[in-house]
């Protein structure tokens, strides 16, 4: 039986996608997760970690970003912990859907909007100078067909 959880540390100075993508793929394969679910998890991590690295730090130092992915009772949980500036995902601005695309000056907010739609539950807390984000996604064949 494959381990039900995997933890790893990246830093803001690394090419994080190349760090976490193989780990998500490996975890997904070990637990026979649907392709679509693996994509949703990879995309969520990508958008959030990119956000942290792009906007999170006021200095030029190296900072750790700790990730744990776990599976319990058909629910995948991703925990991301970082010491970047406070970022409450629930306060992030949504894309300007009411402005026609050709007139939109900013395309910001789409990454976070995608994340909110890829997972079932999000919890955020700020604790001891760290952002702790929990994403939960229910895995079921019906909502994520294996060949999807």
């Amino acid at each position: 039986m494959a381990d039900n959880s995997v933890s790893f540390r990246m830093t803001n100075k690394q090419n994080c996608f190349k760090c976490f993508q193989p780990k998500v793929e490996e975890f997904g394969a070990a637990h026979d997760l649907p392709t679509k679910a693996i994509f949703h998890l990879t995309l969520s991590l990508d958008e959030l970690v990119t956000n942290i690295i792009s906007y999170g730090y006021a200095d030029y130092d190296e900072h750790p970003i700790d990730v744990t992915i776990s599976l319990s009772d058909d629910v995948i949980t991703i925990r991301i912990e970082d010491d970047s500036e406070p970022f409450n995902i629930f306060e992030a601005p949504e894309p300007t859907f009411d402005v026609p695309l050709e007139d939109r000056e900013s395309l910001g907010g789409m990454g976070i909007h995608l994340v909110k739609n890829m997972v079932d539950e999000i919890d955020y807390k700020r604790e001891d100078g760290k952002n702790i984000l929990l994403l939960k996604k229910k895995i079921c064949e019906k909502c994520c067909p294996a060949d999807g």
């Binding site: 996608f17 190349k18 679509k36 990508d46 990119t50 939109r104 395309l107 909007h113 999807g148």
Partner: protein, 110 residues
Amino acid sequence: MAMTESKEKGIIILAVDGNLDADGTLAMEEKVLALLEGGATQLLFDFSGLDYINSSGLRVLVLSYQRLKKVSGKVAICGVKDYIQEVFEVSGYDKIFSLYAERADALSGM
């Protein structure tokens, strides 16, 4: 990520295979900008071999849409896998881009 460029019926086709991660997206953006600066007005992205895209990748598509809209050009996308199609739907971009199942459909529909 690998890109293959071709031209058919005056339409420039950019086939993108593999992952549009940060590096892949940057390479695609450079390619698209070069095509637009070279005067391309009809652009078809063939994503039948595409396994991954994120919001940065979508942004490059929107950029080409915005640029081509100004010169009455066209941009379309074909062959997206269904889990990538969902990203277009969630972002609302499925209403803006013409999405075709097959390259041939796109070439005759554009």
